[in-house]
Symmetry: C3
Subunit: 351 residues, 3 copies
C-alpha cells in the first residue's frame, strides 16, 4: 500500500512540473476552443533546437564514454523497437475493423521514438535532479529505425498478401522475405533506413551527435541549447497538448480498437523498455535514470519523422488511423506516464 | 516649476531606455522607407512568450497573495474599462463625421488592454528598479472584458437604432437593453465574454495565470520567460513602431476627430486609471508601481485580441477607423506616455 | 616551416569550434540529402538579432570612442570595397564566357559585406578570447556601400557600352560618367546609396548603431543579444552550409571562370583587407583583432542585402552567376578562411 501511495504522490508532484502542466494546459486550451495558436515556423524551430541539444549532449558524452557501455543499451533499444511492432502486428492489426496494414503502420509509429517525449523525459529528470547517462540521445535512432523498418517490411508483406488473396485467393503466404515483389527485403530495408536517416528529425539528431563527437560545441551548448531547453520544451508541450486534442476527432472515423491500443500501448511499451533497461542495469550498470529514459522512448510514438516515412513507404495505410492514435492519444499518454516510470525506477532500483 | 522640470528629466531618461527607444527606432525605420521586416511568425512568438510570462508571474503571485488585496484593484480595472468606453460614446461617437458605431468601436479598443503596452510598462518599471505587485497581470482581463462588453453592447444598440430610424424614423429609443433584437443583452454579453476569453491573447494570459496558480512553473519562468523578456520586448517595440507608422496612412481616409481622440485618449484614460489606482492605494495600500501599471493598462489600446473581437461583433464598424486610431496613434502615444505616469507616481506617492 | 605548422594547427583547432563546424555540418546534411530545413521566418529572425547585436555593440563603442580612431579603418574599409570591384572588373569580367555585366555584378557582391560572415568572425574571436575594437560593426556600411556603388556604376556603363556597340559599333567609350544615359552618375549613385541604406540588413545594422549611440541599450544587449549570439549563429551557419550546397548546382549553368573566381576571391580579398588593416594598425594602433575582422569583411560576399540591390540596379545581370558564386562558394570559403586570418594576425602582429 505504501508503495502505491508513494507512486501516487510522486506522480501528482510531477504533474505540477512545468513540462507536464503545459501539456495539460494545451489540451485544456484546445478543449475550450481557444484561438491561441503557435506558428508552424516556431514549432519547427523549437523541435530543431531540442533535437540538436539532445544530439549534441549525446555526442559530447559518447566522446568520453566507454563504447562497450553504450552497446548493451543500444541493443536493448533495438529489441524494444522490434518487439513493439511485433506485438502490434498480433494485437491491433488483427482487431475487428482494423485492416492489417493500418494496424501495422500504427504500431510502427508507436515503436518509433518521439523527440518531444524524450526531451520531456529529460526535463522531468533534470527538474528532479535525477542523473542519467549523457549518451541516451544516441539510443534514439536505434529504436526508431528498428521499429520503422520492421513495420514497413511487415506492412508491405501484408499489402502484398491482401492483393494476392484478393486476386487469386491461393498464393497467400508464398511470398517470402526474399521475394521480388513489393515486400522485397534487402532493397526495401536499405531504402527505409536511408529515408529515416534523412528525415528531418533523425538527421538533426545525428548532426548534433556527430558534431558533439568530432567538434567542440561545449561552449555553445552551455550558452544556448541548454539554457533554452526547458523553456522551449514548455512551449512545445503546449503545442502537443493542443495538437493532441484537435487530432482526437480523427479517431471518430476509425475503429474503437485504435483508442484502446493508443491508451494501453504507451504504458505496456514503456514497461517493456523498462524491463530491457533493467537487464542492461544488471549487466553493465546502466543507471536508473537511463532505464527511465529507455522506458520513455519505448512509451513514445513518433510525431515528426515517423508519419512522413510511413506515409511514403505504406501509402495504403490510413493516416487518420495512425496519426490520430499516436498524436491524439499516444503522445499525451506517454508524456503523462513519465512520472510512473520515474516512480517505478525509484522503487525498483532507487536513485 | 521644479515639479515640471523633474517630470521632464525623468521622461527624457526613460526615452533612452531600450523599450521606448526601440519603439521610436521602429517608427523612424518605417518613415525612412526601410525594407526591414519582422516575419509574422516571430511577432506571434514574441507576443506569446510575453503573455505567458505576464500570466505566469501573475499566477505565481496570486498563489501567494491575499485575495482581498486583489479585489479593489480588480474593481478599479473594471470601472476604468467601462468609463473609457462611456467617455468615448459621448465624445468621439458624437463628433462630426464619425458614425456612432465607428466611434464606439474605437473607444472599445481604447478601453481594452494591450499586452505589449503593459509589458513595456513592466520593463520600464524593472529597468528603473521600481517595485509593483506581481499580480498586476491578473487585472488585464477585468479591464479588457469590461471595455469590450460595454463597447459591443453600446455598438449593437447604436446599430439597431440607426437601422430603425432609417426605416421608420419613429421607433428610435424604444429598444431597451432587454430587447430581443441585435442588441439583445444577456446572450450578447455571454457571447462577447466567451469570445474574449477564447481570443489568442486573453487565453494565453489566462493559461499562464492558471498554470502559475496550480502548477509550479517557477523554474521555467526564471530560466526562460524572465531572461528573454526585455530582449523580446525590444523587438516587439520595433515591430509596433513600424506598424504604427504604416497604419497612420489609413487615418487619412477617416475624420480628423479620430486623430484628436487617439492623441488625447491614452493620456486622459491613463489619468483615469491613475486616479482609480490612487483610490486603491489609499484603501488597501496598492503600491505606487501598481498605480503606474493600472494607468498604463488604461492608456493602452488593444492590438491583438481586440480588433478581431470588435470585427466579429460589430461588422458594421469601419476597421480603418478603429485600427488606424489605435495601432497608428494610440499605442505609440500610450507607450511614450509611460514615463509621465512614472514621474507622476513618484511625485504624488513616491517610490 | 614552423610558421606553416602553427598556421595549420590553429586552423584545425578553429574548424572544431562551433561556428565553423556547424557550417560544415550544414553542407554535409545537404550533400547527404537530408530533409532537415530551417523555416525562412527563423532564418530572418536570426539574421535580425545578429545584425542588431553587431550594430548595438558598435554604437555603444562609437559613443565612447575617439572618432579619429574610427576614421582610418573606415577609409581602409571603403578603399577595400572599391578595390575588390575594380579587380573583378579586370579579371572575372574579362574572362572567357563571362559577360562584362555578370562579372561586375558578381564582383560587387564579393566586395559587399556579409553580416553572417562578419558575425562568424566575431564569434571566432570571442571563442578564442581575442580582443577587437567594439566599433568594427560600424565599418560594415562603408565597405558595403562603396562596393555596391562602384559595381552598379561600372555595370551600367558596361551595359550602355554593349548596347551602343551592338547598335552602331562606333559610339563606344564616348559615354562618360557625367553622361545622360543609363549610366548617368550623380542620380544613380544617390539612388544606390539610398537603396542600400534602406535594405533590410543595412537598415537593421544602422538602427542598432544609432540606438547604441543615442539610447542606453546596454542592459538589453547584455541580457538578450549577447547571450543568444553564438547559439543563433550556430543555427545560421547550419543554414548557410545547406544553402551553399544547394546553390552549387546553379554554377553548372555558368562559365567555369566563376568557380575559380569564387574560390580564390575570398582569400585574395581578405588579404587586401588584411593589408589595409595592417596600414591602419601602424598608423593609428588599430588592433590585431580589428585587422582580422576587416579581412573577414573583405573576404565575405553579401548574402542578404546585396543580391536584391544588384538585381534591382542591374537587371541584365544573371542571378545564377552572382548568387551561385557568392552563396554557393564565396560564403563558405570566406567563413572557412577565418582561421587563416587569425593565424596570420597572430604571426604578423601578435595577439
Amino acid at each position: 500500500m505504501e508503495f502505491l501511495s508513494d507512486l501516487l504522490t510522486t506522480m501528482v508532484t510531477q504533474l505540477q512540473k512545468p513540462t507536464l502542466s503545459f501539456l495539460i494546459g494545451g489540451m485544456v486550451l484546445a478543449a475550450l476552443g481557444s484561438q491561441f495558436k503557435v506558428p508552424d515556423a516556431i514549432y519547427k524551430f523549437i523541435v530543431m533546437v531540442l533535437l540538436l541539444k539532445v544530439g549534441l549532449e549525446a555526442g559530447i558524452s559518447v566522446r568520453e564514454a566507454d563504447l562497450a557501455q553504450l552497446l548493451v543499451p543500444a541493443i536493448a533499444a533495438m529489441v524494444t523497437g522490434i518487439a513493439i511492432v511485433l506485438i502490434g502486428a498480433v494485437t491491433l492489426a488483427r482487431a475487428r475493423g482494423v485492416s492489417p496494414v493500418d494496424g501495422i503502420a500504427t504500431s510502427g509509429l508507436f515503436g518509433a521514438v518521439s523527440a518531444s517525449t524524450l526531451a520531456a523525459g529529460m526535463a522531468v529528470m533534470q527538474d528532479g535532479g535525477l542523473p542519467y547517462e549523457g549518451f541516451i540521445g544516441a539510443l534514439y535512432p536505434f529504436m526508431d529505425i528498428a521499429a520503422l523498418v520492421t513495420a514497413i517490411v511487415l506492412g508491405r508483406l501484408a499489402t502484398a498478401r491482401t492483393a494476392t488473396s484478393g486476386q487469386g485467393g491461393a498464393a497467400t503466404m508464398t511470398l517470402s522475405f526474399g521475394g521480388a515483389g513489393g515486400g522485397g527485403h534487402p532493397g526495401v530495408v536499405k531504402e527505409i533506413i536511408t529515408d529515416t536517416l534523412r528525415s528531418s528529425a533523425v538527421s538533426a539528431l545525428l548532426l548534433g551527435l556527430i558534431l558533439g563527437i568530432v567538434a567542440r560545441p561545449d561552449a555553445v551548448v552551455e550558452s544556448f541549447y541548454d539554457p533554452l531547453f526547458s523553456g522551449l520544451l514548455s512551449l512545445l508541450m503546449l503545442i502537443l497538448g493542443m495538437e493532441a486534442w484537435s487530432r482526437l476527432s480523427e479517431l471518430r472515423k476509425v475503429a474503437h480498437a485504435y483508442i484502446a491500443y493508443a491508451v494501453a500501448a504507451p504504458i505496456v511499451h514503456g514497461l517493456i523498455g523498462f524491463g530491457l533497461g533493467l537487464v542492461a542495469h544488471y549487466l553493465t550498470g546502466f543507471s536508473a535514470g537511463g532505464v527511465v529514459l529507455l522506458a520513455v522512448m519505448a512509451a513514445s510514438s513518433s510525431d515528426i519523422s515517423g508519419p512522413p516515412t510511413i506515409r511514403g513507404a505504406l501509402p495504403e495505410a490510413n493516416p487518420s488511423a495512425y496519426i490520430g492514435s499516436s498524436t491524439g492519444i499516444g503522445t499525451p499518454v506517454a508524456i503523462l506516464s513519465i512520472p510512473l516510470f520515474v516512480a517505478l525506477a525509484d522503487a525498483v532500483i532507487g536513485f
